[in-house]
């Protein structure tokens, strides 16, 4: 949950930064955000894999890829990418809150 919240916050900062700041200065906001997204999303993938939660796991994996795009992307692509990162976290949180988590680790 902490990782998901961190991803959501980072995505929101990147989105706000890419809307509020023009190119190329926005790179100083989006690039650190992208790097942070990659690192946190790597942890989130591990967290969503054990126990397996398919939708959040897919959202985390997609966030990791989008974090890379946020770092290297040029032009106006940063706004939709940052928005997508935010949307993915919202979707993952919604899926988590609905419950029904299939587990690969059997509880005792």
């Amino acid at each position: 949950m902490i990782l998901r919240a961190l991803l959501l916050l980072t995505g929101a900062v990147a989105l706000a930064g890419s809307i509020a700041v023009d190119r190329p200065e926005r790179f100083s906001i989006t690039a650190p955000c992208g790097l942070l997204v990659i690192v946190v999303a790597a942890g989130a993938i591990a967290a969503d894999a054990v126990p397996l939660r398919r939708v959040p796991l897919a959202c985390s994996a997609a966030s990791l890829v989008l974090g890379g795009v946020l770092v290297v992307g040029r032009g106006e692509i940063q706004i939709p990418v940052a928005a997508a990162i935010v949307a993915l976290q919202v979707a993952a949180l919604a899926a988590q809150s609905r419950g029904g988590v299939p587990r690969i680790m059997r509880s005792r």
Binding site: V40, G43, A46, A47, P51
Partner: protein, 360 residues
């Protein structure tokens, strides 16, 4: 995380930590690689394996020559001081303006890979002209590089060599080491008209260097640059060579004439008599690894076998009897022409003047 045992929770936390650390490590490695690739990795090596070098410069055309690593599409353009652009037809720049300084660039695959300058001869006989001369230089050593540097920096209009351009002989494989690499900057900025010496005659012969510089068999040809004529005669002017020089010197329209022969002339030789009768300004030679200034039968003679080839001890590289100046110093001869006046300066490999002379 409900449903997991404490041990499983610890394992899960460890897995998350390792994943994040792995991501950090991968990002750090990627950052180093990207930085190396973008900022530290040098430019690609030159696609040119020889040159480009100026082969000849005339009033309205200039020709370059080069070799590339494989078939490459090379485009040469030249700009004059007013920004007028000329694009070469192959390696030949045509429709140039006389008496104009051009900057040329040779591009390969859309990237400029070599540049240089040249000045087309002016029809105005009073325009200053700078000619540089050297001989016995093709050894690929530090002294040769130093001499070539001082030559390139003095921005000559043309360069003549008086033989022994490559030691110990002149096979194609040795020319890059002995001629084209040490002289690269000079050859990009002035045409170098090569005279042949005795070392070019050694096996496998002078074929490679003649092909590289478009020199006719026998090594005799004439260079004309505005009011200046230089008759290049090869190693030694025999009867045919003297006849060739006589025909060349009979052509009117030159205010200054020079003969270039590898072996220094001696008193009473036919070439010296011809030079005197034709009013030749000077005979330029090499062979002896010294700089010498002499007057032979009334003709100013310079020996500039000081281009980089080893200078031996005095007992082996002996001073010529009667020489006004004789030095065992590496360097080149600078000939500055302004109107009727000709000034000679011997510049050593440190850029210092070792001798000055006017007409005899």
């Amino acid at each position: 995380m409900e449903g997991l045992t404490p041990r499983e929770r610890r394992l899960r936390r460890a897995l998350i930590g390792v994943s994040m650390l792995a991501a950090v490590a991968l990002l750090a490695i990627a950052g180093v690689l990207i930085y190396w690739w973008m900022y530290l990795l040098g430019p690609e090596g030159s696609p040119f394996t020889r040159g480009p070098y100026l082969l000849r410069v005339e009033q309205d055309r200039a020709e370059l020559r080069w070799r590339t690593d494989g078939a490459r599409d090379v485009t040469v353009t030249a700009l004059d001081g007013a920004g007028r652009e000329v694009t070469a037809d192959g390696a030949v720049l045509r429709s140039l303006r006389p008496g104009t300084r051009y900057t040329w660039t040779a591009s390969v695959d859309g990237v400029g890979r070599a540049s240089g300058t040249f000045t087309t001869p002016s029809p105005d006989p009073d325009v200053p002209i700078r000619i540089l001369a050297l001989a016995d230089y093709g050894i690929g050593g530090d002294e040769q590089y130093a001499v070539a540097r001082t030559m390139a920096a003095s921005r000559p209009d043309l360069v003549v060599t008086a033989g022994d351009n490559s030691y110990i002989s002149a096979p194609d494989i040795a020319l890059d080491r002995n001629v084209f690499r040490p002289m690269a900057e000079l050859m990009r900025n002035a045409p170098v008209y090569v005279g042949l010496g005795d070392h070019e005659a050694l096996p496998p012969g002078d074929g490679a260097i003649r092909a590289a510089f478009d020199i006719p068999p026998g090594g005799r040809y004439v260079v004309e640059h505005g009011p200046v004529q230089a008759v290049i005669l090869g190693d030694r002017a025999d009867a045919d060579g003297i006849a060739f020089a006589r025909r060349a010197l009979a052509r009117p329209g030159f205010r200054h004439r020079f003969l270039v022969q590898h072996r220094p002339p001696r008193e009473g030789e036919g070439l010296v008599r011809l030079a005197r009768s034709a009013g030749v300004d000077a005979i330029i030679s090499g062979h002896l690894h010294r700089y010498e200034r002499r007057v032979v039968d009334g003709v100013r003679c310079f020996t500039v076998g000081t281009g980089g080839g080893r200078i031996g001890a005095d007992e082996f590289t002996r001073e010529t009897e009667g020489a006004e100046v004789s030095l065992t110093r590496f360097g080149h001869l600078r000939i500055d022409i302004r109107g009727d006046e000709v000034r000679y300066t011997f510049v050593d490999l440190t850029g210092r003047v070792a001798d000055r002379a006017g007409p005899p």
